[in-house]
């Protein structure tokens, strides 16, 4: 059995990569990709804790399924927002889009 701490180190690294990716990008699609990486790391964490701490119950896997569903909905809405932004502002550079700034 893989030691749980190894899995946690892996998910921490994956989450860190996703965070770095979403913070350094100015392209909105790249930010979305970083968020997807972070959600993946969280899912692996849920499954790992389920396996190592509560082996008989499947709650962690069920929650991972829920997270996947929400990630899909979020990606759909996010990409739709980018499409409409790209149409009206000729670009999705988040440094230039400040329509919510007062």
């Amino acid at each position: 059995m893989v030691p749980q701490s190894w899995v946690l180190v892996f998910t921490a690294a994956l989450f860190g990569l996703g965070l770095w990716g979403s913070l350094r990008a100015t392209n909105a699609v790249r930010i979305l990709m970083g968020i997807e990486l972070m959600l993946n790391a969280i899912n692996v964490n849920l499954v790992a804790f389920n396996r190592y701490l509560a082996d008989q119950a499947g709650q962690g896997q069920v929650f991972a399924l829920f997270v996947m569903t929400i990630a899909a909905a979020e990606a759909a809405v996010g990409l739709a927002i980018f499409v409409s932004l790209a149409r009206s502002y000729k670009g999705i550079n988040v440094d230039k889009i400040n329509i919510l700034k007062w």
């Binding site: 899995v7 994956l14 970083g34 499947g58 990630a71």
Partner: protein, 181 residues
Amino acid sequence: MTGEIVLFLLLAVFTLAAAAWSVVAPKVVHAALGLMTAFLGVAGIYLVLESPFLAVVQVLIYIGAIATMILFAIMLSDLPEIRGEAIPAGERGTRRAYAAVPRWLARLIPPAAGLAFLLLIRWEEVGLPALSRPGPAGAPIEIEDLARLLFNQYALPFEALSVLILSALIGALVLARKESE
């Protein structure tokens, strides 16, 4: 070191490398392909963690739906800044390090990943040493158990999620629609 641990380490390195590539790749299409590869690696990690159902769902939803949707959004738009992005001056070094990877090696990665995934699913049929299994105390969670949880204890959140998906679908359609004037 059992086979399981070696497999986990290989998959972890593979996934992290793909994720790192998806973060630093100069072109957004390459970043999306790297993301797809990272999702595949995570599916393998699920198999190592004995959650085969989640591995299948990961391939279906993340690779089949989310990554494909991102690729569609990138490829169907004609904005140059979506396709390629100027790299900040401080990160040219990383870019050069990635450019040093020979092209044939980069081309080998996707087929190798697919083969590795197939091998992982059919691990024992191929005749490789069995992955270590926990004793009877830790019987793996079957799909049946998951279904029982999902439709009894978590039936209400499940239905709420279906409403969320529906509203996200309608919302996406409304947001992306072309304004007719």
